[in-house]
């Protein structure tokens, strides 16, 4: 849907609040990121994210984060639309972000735009990585999915049948008493590892399953195997599983671009593997820049802008959060990108 140019907002505010990160970002009508301010809740070592504790953190930092995002470039920006992460994610966290966004939309008398957090990861990664119509690989704490765009929607070609890659790394790190974020800790330990230990390799068609691998890795830890070797083996086996599923999907879809997005996309070994797969099949590789891989306000502002320009807004009384919201349950008519 084309908007009257005079009515198109100049600035979009994006509020991210799905899990450990509370973020706010301003993006202009050209999609340029003006500010991107984020504050991440870090649980004590050995403990996972408690949804209520994370929500309390978001509540405390929210006004500071939003103020900083609005003030970023000298003069204070007044947003013309408020975009919020409506799901999927942790209920208590989602409600904090949604409540603040509703209040802002009412106070400013500006439209409210619901955003799917996973779609937003892909939108920001596509914008920053200059991708148009990719085979999208989304790897984070909430998603491990391979998707392509067809008939207005992302279609899932492969995904995890149990826990995500982010869950696997976080849960193992927690057991091994490594500090949060788990993925970063496992990656740095893995650099010292040399020996490949036997771990279950489970690929079903284009799907993967990681829970058996997690159990086996924890058992190796209990047996007293070297932590660097276990971390090295977890990465080698779990990433190879995903790389294989990506390769199969790439051959089936014949896409010419491979996008890698989400928090785990910051892992250098995973980037290297997916790049090898892409180039081996004549596709270009588009990894999300590291600074935009994790959850952030900019992804919500970026996706919210595209949604708004396609006519997506929600009246405050009908606005919602949806802790379970699949990547393939939302129309994304703005893809492929020009």
């Amino acid at each position: 849907m084309k908007q009257n140019p005079r009515l198109v907002p100049t600035f979009f505010l994006g509020i991210e609040s799905t899990a450990h990160t509370f973020g706010a970002s301003i993006i202009d009508d050209q999609g340029r990121i003006i500010t991107n301010v984020n504050s991440t809740y870090r649980p004590p070592t050995g403990i996972g994210i408690h949804p209520r504790k994370a929500a309390e953190h978001h509540n405390e930092v929210s006004s500071g984060v939003i103020e900083k995002a609005l003030h970023g470039v000298g003069e204070r920006v007044s947003p013309d639309a408020v975009c919020y992460s409506a799901g999927p994610g942790l209920g208590p966290c989602l409600r904090i972000g949604a409540t603040i966004s509703r209040a802002l939309a009412l106070y400013l008398d500006k439209p409210l735009v619901p955003v799917h957090h996973g779609v937003a990861h892909l939108d920001l990664a596509m914008a920053a990585g200059r991708s148009h119509d990719p085979l999208a690989v989304l790897v984070s704490g909430g998603h491990t999915a391979i998707a392509v765009h067809l008939n207005k929607r992302w279609r899932i070609y492969g995904e995890t049948e149990d826990i995500t890659l982010g869950n696997l790394l976080d849960m193992f790190a927690r057991e091994a008493k490594l500090p949060s974020p788990g993925g970063v800790a496992v990656e740095s330990k893995a650099k010292e590892g040399r020996t490949l230990l036997a771990l279950p390799y489970t690929v079903k068609g284009n799907d993967v399953a990681y829970s058996g691998l997690l159990t086996a890795a924890i058992r190796l830890l209990m047996e007293g195997q070297s932590l660097p070797d276990i971390c090295f083996s977890i990465q080698e086996v779990s990433f190879a599983m995903l790389a294989e599923a990506v390769e199969r999907s790439l051959v089936q879809t014949r896409k010419k671009e491979v996008l890698l997005a989400g928090g785990v996309a910051a892992n250098q070994r995973l980037r290297e593997m997916i790049q090898l797969v892409a180039e081996d099949h004549g596709a270009t590789f588009h990894p999300v820049p590291i600074e935009y891989s994790g959850d952030c306000g900019a992804q919500i502002a970026c996706s919210g802008r595209l949604a708004f320009e396609s006519g997506v807004t929600v009246p405050v009384p009908e606005s919602f959060v949806n802790p379970r919201w699949r990547l393939d349950e939302i129309d994304v008519p703005w893809i492929p990108r020009p």
Binding site: G87, P88, G142, H143, T144, A145, V148, L150, N151, R155, I156, Y157, E159, T160, E161, D162, T164, L196, Y201, V203, K204, G205, N206, D207, E236, V237, A240, A243, E244, E247, R248, L250, V251, Q252, T253, E272, M273, I274, L276, V277, D280, P323, R324, W325, R326, L327
Partner: protein
Amino acid sequence: MDSSTLDLQPLHRGAEADLFLSQLPPWKVVVKRRVRKAYRHEKLDASIRKERTIRESSAIRDGKVAGARLPSILGLDVERSTIIMTFIDGLLARNILDRMSNARRLALLEELGRQVGFLHSAGITHGDLTTSNIILPADEKPFMVDFGMARKSTDHEDHGSDLHLLQRSLIATHALDATSSLRRVAKGYREVVGEEMAKSSLRKAAEIARRGRYFAIR
């Protein structure tokens, strides 16, 4: 069998293997060679290639004995992760499904259901059942190929997984209506495996689909 002396003409490059055409008179044969993956740790790569080569050839053999339409295994070269089998002349279902008339497509889906039924009643799971792994010869009687992910199993979980993957490929690649297309697959499947087994496999398939992330109803 030593496959290194065969004269190989490139036929197709798959995700995990290269396919070549060759002659093993009187047969026209396909030589399937699993190749080293640069992204994979060498030790892991070697064990995966060996294991799958052996599993694939035995699954094809067993499936054929059970009555499914599959190529015939003519030779095995484990050292080079290579299988030699008869060549099936036809088109990929993936490439022609969207151009078929509704009636022909539904008839094909029903026949596919039967073929999967033969495999499952023989205790074999295909493991990668998509329209890219189905070849249609001129008579449109489908052949299933690529048993690289196959396994011996009588577990409903694995049977359901086959049906789930087929259904997802119909939705994701061909944007077909899930209900009507799966109904025809189920009809053929039920015919071969019987009411009871069909019921549990289909129930499992629906359950596996819901295991994906963030389904509202679990």
